[in-house]
């Protein structure tokens, strides 16, 4: 297993990119990626085309509870299958990104189908022009109910959506006035649900049980729309919602806001969003580069990501983010290659994500989750370590077998060489503190050197078992909590 330093760096870079643009890759995938030019790989990942993944029909056949898409956790399970099995992980990653910002939850919508429809909308529009995404969001039935826009009427505005589209979805606090919020809300009057009154009453009382959940649809009601003149961010006109979005989207504040979010999610943890107006960006130059791209490239998210992934600041950001539970769980399952068909393991996986603090499709509030180091507390760390340990400690997983085959030689390997090699396979991870690596090496040494023997012999099986334990211990480290 002789590799040149350049190859190792190339492999490390690809692994880093695929952790951020997706949920990590197996060694076999890395073998292929390593042969390619980095920038070509970025371009091809950002042009996903049609997705292949474990088919929804198969998932539904096995997990019958997912069928009606009634409850949040059931539909979240279907999403987790996508994250783990898709061949276009950037699509799921960008959906997860927007889900954290346009955080819409089951707690209020009371039906999961509308939320799954919203996630699907993120898949279709999340990599395109921001204006279009924002317009789709304003017409999204789950969002309308979530922020009460069905109660936003001509002559009697409800400011919930009008406020959050400015504060949480596009520019951030301090870039508009209370008057702008009112004018913005007026512009979105009439953007409602078909049959909104009926739907909201039904959802609130939950009395549609046992008749199943009704599909929701957007409807524009001209007669409930305030078509009067409005002043918004210094412009005046008889603005409708789409005009407002056009004005928002061309603001420098929007460019910076989106850039900082992209940086936070794809590069390195920022301080929590509420502190942004008062705390400078971690890397102001990076934000400037991304903002310029936004403004010069027609507000296109893919173009921003292209610049981001090819930048030096991205390449130097390895392990600068605490993995969110979805990344953590999907990452463990994907890189260990244990999911090839529907399995009961996914019930536990989706529950454990919740125990770690992230219930997909049900964020705690419209502000989304508190990310970064906020994911870590004395309860969640136990769940994270136990889950990763159990996934990696399974010596039957295809990836453990593959890694063992890659290490196999006629010579027995000592503990230190095994741990070094496993660290490479798991990241490559670098333990900055000697104690960490020493602790694992000492533990492994107790079992003596590792012998490999021929494939499918008892000797090889023992090697697989011992290597799975090394991988599981590395997965329990604090370094593995970040990606």
């Amino acid at each position: 297993m002789v590799t040149t330093e350049r190859q190792t760096e190339q492999r490390s870079m690809m692994a880093h990119f695929m952790r951020r643009a997706g949920f990590g890759v197996t060694q076999r995938e890395l073998d292929e990626l390593e042969k390619l030019d980095y920038e070509d790989v970025v371009d091809s990942v950002l042009d996903p085309g049609l997705s292949n993944h474990l088919s929804d029909e198969l998932v539904l056949r096995y997990h019958t509870e997912v069928h009606e898409q009634r409850a949040g956790p059931w539909s979240a399970k279907q999403w987790l299958y996508r994250m783990v099995t898709t061949d276009t992980p950037i699509v799921e990653k960008i959906a997860l990104f927007w889900h954290g910002i346009f955080a819409t939850g089951y707690a209020k919508t009371n039906q999961a189908r509308a939320l799954s429809v919203q996630i699907d909308m993120f898949r279709r529009f999340g990599l395109g022009k921001f204006d279009i995404l924002l317009e789709e969001l304003a017409k999204d039935p789950a969002m309308i109910i979530w922020l009460d826009n069905q109660d936003n009427h001509n002559g009697a505005i409800n400011e919930n959506f009008g406020r959050e589209i400015l504060e949480l979805f596009s520019m951030g606090i301090g870039n508009y006035t209370e008057e702008d919020i009112k004018e913005c809300s007026r512009a979105f009057t009439g953007w409602t649900l078909k049959n909104a009154e009926y739907m909201s009453v039904r959802a609130m009382k939950d009395s549609i049980w046992p008749y199943g959940r009704i599909s929701w649809h957007y409807e524009y009601r001209e007669n409930d729309h305030d078509g009067g003149q409005k002043s918004f961010l210094g412009e005046t006109g008889e603005f409708n919602g789409d005009d407002i979005i056009r004005i928002i989207s061309k603001q420098e504040a929007a460019a910076e806001f989106i850039s900082r979010h992209l940086y936070d999610f794809f590069v390195a943890d920022e301080v929590p969003v509420p502190q942004w107006p008062y705390t400078p960006a971690r890397d102001p130059e990076a934000i400037r580069i991304l903002s310029d791209t936004y403004l010069n490239e027609d507000h296109n998210i893919t173009e921003m990501l292209r610049v981001l992934f090819k930048s030096e600041f991205f390449k130097n950001s390895r392990f600068e983010r605490v993995k969110c539970p979805a990344e953590y769980v999907a990452g463990c399952l994907r890189t260990s290659d244990v999911i090839s068909r529907p399995t009961l393991l996914m019930n536990e996986a989706v529950n454990v994500m919740e125990y770690m603090g992230q219930t997909l499709l049900n964020p705690p509030s419209v502000e989304g989750w508190h990310e970064g180091k906020e994911w870590i507390n004395s309860g969640s760390i136990v769940e994270r370590v136990n889950f990763a340990y159990d996934v990696w400690q399974n010596s039957d997983s295809p990836e453990v077998i593959d890694i063992t085959d890659r290490m196999a030689s006629d010579e027995a390997l000592d503990a230190a060489s095994v741990v070094e090699a496993c660290l490479d396979f798991m990241g490559p991870l670098v333990f900055t503190e000697d104690t960490t690596k020493k602790a694992i090496i000492e533990h492994v040494s107790k079992g003596g050197t590792i012998k490999f023997g021929e494939k499918s012999t008892a000797v090889r099986e023992l090697a697989e078992k011992r290597i799975s334990e090394v991988l599981a211990l590395i997965a329990s480290s604090k370094e593995y909590q970040r990606g």
Binding site: Y106, K205, S207, N362, I381, E383, E433, K478
Partner: protein
């Protein structure tokens, strides 16, 4: 016996929306039977509290405690403009805030008040997995114990000596090192907290002995776990657990009855255990649900409603009926639901001010008229 122990609260959440009308039953009210042609309790079997109200027949153990004067029944409890979504309404109870969406829990805020530096890693423990929002807040260390006997890191490693080896590796991996940055240090600290918490908890089962045999249901198991931790005196002030699902849209009578049998026997056993170990006067138990159910039945069950019932149980509790029982008359209803005339934050206020002796206002987000449920 004079107890000098720290006061503790056990919170038992009835998840899914408990049907208050079939829990504390207005058995002499004709309109109860008019609204509940199918889903009502036989008045002959109900356990009478007075000439108007009776407990569900399956609540025998709680009725025994009531007869001893140790059960406070808080009728008509809720909050203004009730929300009938399970999740939202539960969040409202957990954050003590019905209008704004908050993410920080009332218990977490209390723990911070009682232990500002977070010196005790076990100030609050949830028995069950995950963290109820009530206990969640950044920087407040709390634990979630699914099963006390296997709690902690690496429970899947069955061999004790192997597990100890691996815990030892974990301890070194998270052990105090400068770390490469603040996040790394934070991870170290949190990993150590978790390890310390697990270590302390792992000793609790061996210290425990009791003559009480708990009923065989999951809630009884959780409350027994809580008792074992409590008697190990590790400084935990809040014990949290839940039982359910009380979401009885269909087939309510047998389901609801079984659920309350579980709750009642578990609470009875727990109370006996707590008394046997001398923790009776320092322990209070709060039982609540996110909402009650509709006044009219739907033929076999009941749909989401408002106006619930809560209980506060313990040897320091002044037993009796608190709050007016909501009227079932059509003119007094709230869109077909019971009108909640008692705010749940009045109960929290009572607990915070008189039991934990902390300022309730910042924790429950305002001043509320409080009940006077505790002795002294």
């Amino acid at each position: 016996m004079l107890e000098t122990k720290q006061k503790k609260l056990v919170v038992l959440q009835l998840s899914g929306g408990n049907d208050a009308l079939n829990t504390v039953i207005p058995y002499n009210d004709e309109s109860y039977y008019d609204n509940r042609p199918q889903v009502h309790i036989d008045p002959e079997k109900a356990l009478k509290l007075d000439s108007e109200l009776a407990m569900n027949p399956s609540m025998t153990a709680i009725k025994r405690l009531w007869d001893e004067g140790k059960v406070a029944v808080i009728n008509g409890i809720g909050y203004p403009e009730p929300n009938r979504s399970h999740f939202r309404s539960m969040d409202i109870w957990h954050t003590a805030e019905p209008t704004k969406v908050l993410t920080e829990g009332w218990i977490a805020r209390t723990i911070r008040e009682l232990d500002p530096k977070g010196e005790n890693v076990l100030g609050g423990i949830n028995f069950g997995r995950g963290l109820p929002r009530a206990m969640a807040s950044s920087g407040v260390p709390v634990a979630s114990v699914g099963d006390l006997d296997t709690y902690g890191l690496f429970p899947s490693v069955k061999n004790d000596s192997d597990r100890n080896d691996i815990l030892n590796v974990f301890s070194q991996m998270y052990g105090t090192g400068a770390g490469r940055d603040m996040v790394s240090e934070f991870l170290s600290q949190t990993g150590e907290d978790a390890l310390v918490g697990a270590d302390i908890l792992s000793e609790a089962p061996a210290k425990y002995s009791s003559s009480i045999e708990y009923a065989a249901n999951p809630l009884a198991k959780s409350l027994r776990d809580a008792a074992r931790v409590m008697f190990a005196d590790v400084g935990t002030r809040f014990f949290y657990t839940q039982h359910g699902s009380f979401d009885t849209h269909g087939g309510e009578l047998p389901v609801h009855s079984k659920l309350w049998e579980d709750v009642s026997t578990a609470v009875g056993d727990f109370t006996d255990d707590v008394r046997e170990h001398g923790y009776g006067e320092s322990t209070a138990l709060l039982i609540f649900s996110e909402f009650g159910r509709r006044i009219k039945d739907n033929g076999s069950g009941t749909d989401h409603g408002s106006g619930g019932v809560a209980f506060l149980i313990g040897d320091s509790v002044k037993g009796g009926l608190y709050g007016q029982y909501p009227s079932l008359k059509e003119k007094d209803q709230l869109n077909g639901d019971l009108y909640a005339n008692n705010d749940f934050r009045s109960v929290y206020t009572n607990i915070l001010e008189d039991w934990f002796e902390v300022d309730p206002v910042p924790i429950v987000n305002g001043s509320f008229e409080k009940f006077d449920i505790f002795e002294n």
